[in-house]
């Protein structure tokens, strides 16, 4: 083996073996030595100890072959996340790219949500990016057919603007209006986009006797990002909006995944005339994989399985990711000690 070969072979060895090797040929290594430094130490004494180092590498390689030769049954692997070989990079990156274009077919839950609005209020709590907008648009379409007013609220002006553009594209600019604190663009349109604070103020005014929005024709109120109900500063506005919302209007609450949507639904049912229907699921429309990227550019899966583990208790780090992260942290504590 040349020096380069030797160095590369050493880099393949697990940290534990390297430390043992370094101890036998160069005395006890410092407690917090990183892998690179250990290899450095070994290489410094490589001239006199070449045979010993090569022997260690050969033993390790033989062991690796033996482990790889033992086949593991897929059934076992499925039963226990610890069993079986950890996922490799190939299967991790498999399937990357653009899917076959398919005609758009709404998911069952999307159809269910729109239908449930006929019967009462609806809370949709699904992961980000699974297509809540479709539900909002379809529900709006139906309410428009009944010549009702639709109010769409979002927590931020920026989001209001995005939705304004989006709805204008779908329903035509003449049917969409936007109301902000001091400006009203097309306020007589059937679809009104505003922030939740503005709607709350309109409801206050209506309750005080000054009808401002056409509340009697209000058919649908869509509250986007309803998880803001738990926001320490602004959450109260969502609550007020829901409490004061006229009873003839249907409410559609769109929310990211939250921990207690059933509690929200039960609350809505208890204060609103119609029962509240809850649509929830944890399934992402595009599957997600977690990876670990080391500063040296090496990419490995983060967990043993390619797919995302279903719960934290079943999440076991990929051995390679764990090794690299430990190495990083060891380097970190070594570095900070030296500088401090």
């Amino acid at each position: 083996m040349t020096r380069d070969e030797l160095e590369r072979a050493l880099a393949e060895l697990p940290f534990r073996l390297l430390r043992r090797l370094a101890r036998t040929i160069a005395g006890p290594p410092a407690m917090r030595m990183g892998k690179r430094r250990i290899i450095h130490t070994i290489m410094a004494a490589a001239e006199t100890n070449q045979a010993r180092i090569e022997a260690a590498i050969r033993t390790h390689q033989a062991e690796q072959h033996a482990i790889a030769a033992v086949p593991s049954t897929p059934a076992e692997a499925a039963a226990d996340p610890k069993a079986g070989k950890p996922a490799d990079l190939g299967s991790f990156l498999e399937g990357i790219g653009v899917p076959e274009p398919r005609p758009f077919v709404p998911d069952d839950w999307q159809v269910e949500a729109v239908d449930a609005l006929e019967r009462g209020d609806v809370i949709v709590s699904v992961p980000t990016g699974s297509g809540k907008t479709y539900v909002a648009v379809e529900a709006t379409r139906r309410a428009m057919r009944e010549e009702r007013t639709i109010v769409y609220t979002s927590p931020l002006k920026a989001l209001s603007n995005t939705k304004f553009t989006e709805f204008s594209k779908v329903f035509g600019p003449e049917s969409v209006g936007i109301i902000t604190g001091d400006r009203r663009d097309n306020p007589n349109a059937p679809i009104l986009i505003m922030t939740t604070e503005i709607l709350r103020n309109l409801l206050y005014d209506a309750a005080g006797g000054e009808i401002d929005v056409r509340l009697d024709t209000l058919g649908l109120v869509i509250l986007d990002e309803s998880q803001f109900l738990g926001d320490p500063e602004r959450g109260v506005v969502w609550e007020e909006t829901i409490i004061f919302c006229p009873s003839q209007a249907r409410m559609l609450l769109l929310s990211a995944s939250i921990g207690n949507p059933q509690e929200l639904a039960a609350w809505l049912t208890s204060i609103r005339p119609n029962p509240c229907h809850l649509i929830r699921h944890q399934r992402r429309s595009v599957p997600l994989r977690a990876g670990y990227l080391h500063p040296n550019g090496k990419l490995t899966p983060l967990f043993r399985t390619v797919a995302m583990p279903p719960s934290p208790s079943q999440a076991i780090l990929h051995p390679e990711a764990k090794r690299l992260f430990t190495m990083y942290e060891e380097d970190a504590s070594y570095g900070s000690r030296r500088s401090g």
């Binding site: 980000t128 990211a256 429309s285």
Partner: protein
């Protein structure tokens, strides 16, 4: 500290593995900008065709948002296909970046975690470089909901068959937090219902006071508190059943009775102990220790010269003349025997407590005493441990000392009392859960009554009628300022300035233009008012510098946006946010047209002056 991955290297690796487009989440605005700037020195650029696409999209957006036209970052975004996106940028620029990302023109966006909640643009991959986030000058772990918001950006519907969330180590990384975040269940949403002054005014405007409680009962806060109360009531029922076994005995409520008696006993005993400082055998000796008395210690004998109490601990002490002529100080407790023999001598008032000749005489006498001497038979120490005394003193107040139930009570009191205290505690909690909101409402309403917005029947007064239209934070401060005529004959610039001061709650430091004397005076008045209202409402931050900025923008319409930005170290996005919040506050003041026409028209003037340049671009 070993370096986190270099941004250019990161993007190169991801491009090779075709994991772009990617959103990289970083800790701070600065790190986003630095990561973006790192591409300045690379030679690698996008192919010309893709650059043209970006140029076209930007040109298209420029029509709607003119401020994109001369944006300093435009060139680099086009050439390298990467961008930074954070709250320090103008909304129009952020919209441009989002649009580019949505159309797949960019390879990477460096963003802060705050982005995750705000806007909606997906990518194939997200990169997480930290597991914590800065919140109010503190650094706390990302919640599961936040991590799922972030990882939710990975994987575009119908554009990706799979999305990736990549973790890369940095000093701010805890893999455990992210593992929980990626695989765990999001946190429950809890009610944050607070009763504000505008809420009270608006509710009382629309509903009679007797309906308020039922309206408050409809809140999610009450719903959640009811659920808590129900759990507690279940527990209370169980405790009630347990209390059944501690039924009335001689007295109807023996637990209370015993608890009072127990307390009295303990106090009385403590008092007694303070008086009985000395063990009984010491007390028995004391009357005999007169000057001249011979006493025996374990090693020697001596003649008492005087008796006194030590200064610190108040121990009973004696000064004795030992055989050999030494004068020693000894505690009475060390005396082993009091001899039935005393010498007569004349004590002296100071050390050595006797005349020298008397001392030598005593020493001589002491030496001549026989070895064995009869000791005084002391009366046996009293066995009285104070109970008798207690019975005597407490017997008048309590029946317990003589009650036949006394032993049982003493035995069962501890267990019974624990149950009872828990029961009491829960009952009180349930009470406050059921009525807390209503009490808070009443408290607010009473304050408003004291200030003159409500009459004694909780109807809105004339002031209340217009004050309810101010529905923002610090509404009480603003309405009080209006009532104190602090805004009379104010310039539009100063009104905008003071509203900016009140509205801006960010304490990101910056250096700012000087403020006018009028403005400074106004801020001082506001601060005094805020301090006087402090018992009812938390005072605002009242940063004078942001006031100066808003005053400049509104007061002088020739000031351009770049000029305004140059006069401060605040980021463009922050200035924009400051002015748009000011806009919101001013438009609330503008609502007071009917009752305060002058002020409303000043506010209208300020509003129209704010809305120019960049601030005109978005509705």
């Amino acid at each position: 500290m070993p370096p986190s991955i270099h941004p250019v290297h990161l993007i190169t690796v991801l491009r090779q593995k075709s994991l772009t487009p990617v959103i990289v989440f970083l800790t701070s605005r600065r790190s986003c900008d630095e990561a973006f700037q790192a591409f300045e020195s690379t030679t690698e650029t996008l192919p010309q065709a893709r650059q043209d696409v970006i140029t076209n999209v930007l040109a298209e957006l420029t029509a709607a948002y003119p401020s994109i036209q001369d944006h300093p970052l435009r060139q680099m975004v086009t050439v390298h296909g990467v961008a930074a996106h954070h709250a320090g940028h103008l909304p129009s620029w952020k919209i441009a970046i989002e649009e580019l990302m949505r159309r797949g023109c960019l390879d990477a966006v460096f963003a802060t975690t705050t982005l995750a909640a705000g806007v909606d643009f997906p990518a194939r991959t997200v990169v997480l470089t930290q597991s914590g986030v800065r919140r109010d000058q503190d650094f706390s772990d990302l919640t599961v909901a936040e991590v799922s918001q972030i990882s939710g950006r990975a994987g575009r519907r119908s554009k990706d068959s799979v999305g990736f969330a990549l973790v890369t180590p940095s000093p701010y990384m805890d893999l455990g937090v992210l593992t929980r975040g990626l695989t765990g269940r999001p946190e429950p949403v809890d009610s944050q219902f607070i009763i504000s002054y505008p809420m009270v005014l608006n509710l009382l405007k629309a509903h009679p006071v007797d309906h308020i409680q039922s309206i408050l009962a409809k809140s999610f806060a009450q719903y959640q508190m009811n659920a808590q109360a129900a759990t507690l009531e279940h527990r209370i029922d169980k405790l009630q059943a347990k209390l059944e076994s501690y039924q009335p005995r001689e007295c109807s409520d023996w637990l209370t009775q015993w608890s009072a008696y127990d307390h009295a006993t303990r106090q009385a005993t403590q008092k007694l102990q303070a008086r009985r400082h000395h063990p009984p055998e010491v007390r028995a000796r004391l009357p005999f220790l007169t000057p001249g008395r011979v006493v025996a210690f374990s090693r020697f004998r001596g003649v008492v010269l005087r008796r006194y109490r030590s200064k610190g601990q108040h121990h009973e002490m004696v000064t004795v003349l030992r055989n050999g002529g030494t004068v020693a100080e000894c505690p009475v407790a060390d005396i082993t025997g009091v001899v039935d023999h005393a010498f007569d001598f004349a004590p002296a008032p100071a050390f050595p407590w006797a005349a020298p000749e008397a001392l030598s005489w005593l020493e001589q006498q002491l030496g001549e005493l026989p070895k064995q001497l009869p000791a005084i038979a002391l009366p046996p120490p009293a066995t009285d441990d104070g109970t008798g005394e207690l019975v005597k003193s407490l017997g008048d107040l309590f029946p317990c000392p003589t009650c036949p139930c006394r032993p049982t009570c003493a035995k069962e009191f501890k267990a019974g009392n624990t149950v009872k205290q828990e029961w009491l505690h829960h009952t009180r909690t349930v009470q406050s859960l059921r009525t807390g909101l209503w009490h808070k409402f009443q408290e607010r309403a009473d304050t408003l009554h004291d200030l003159g917005y409500l009459d004694p029947t909780y109807k809105l007064t004339d002031d209340g009628e217009w004050a309810r239209l101010i529905r923002i934070d610090f509404s009480l401060l603003i309405t009080e300022m209006i009532r104190a005529h602090a805004f009379d004959a104010i310039t539009p610039g100063a009104l905008a300035g003071i509203m900016a001061c009140i509205s801006y709650e960010n304490d990101r430091p910056g250096s700012f233009p000087r403020i006018s004397p009028a403005m400074a005076g106004l801020i001082a008045t506001t601060r005094r008012m805020a301090t006087s209202l402090a018992p009812h409402d938390d005072p605002p931050l009242l940063r004078a510098d942001v006031g100066g900025l808003a005053e400049r923008w509104v007061g002088d319409t020739t000031v351009t946006w770049p000029q305004l930005c140059r006069s401060t170290s605040m980021a463009e996005g922050d200035i924009y946010r400051l002015l748009s919040r000011t806009l919101e506050y001013l438009s609330q003041v503008h609502q007071l047209r009917a009752t305060h026409p002058d002020l409303a028209s000043i506010a209208a003037e300020a509003l129209s002056r704010i809305r120019r340049g960049v601030l005109e671009e978005l509705p």
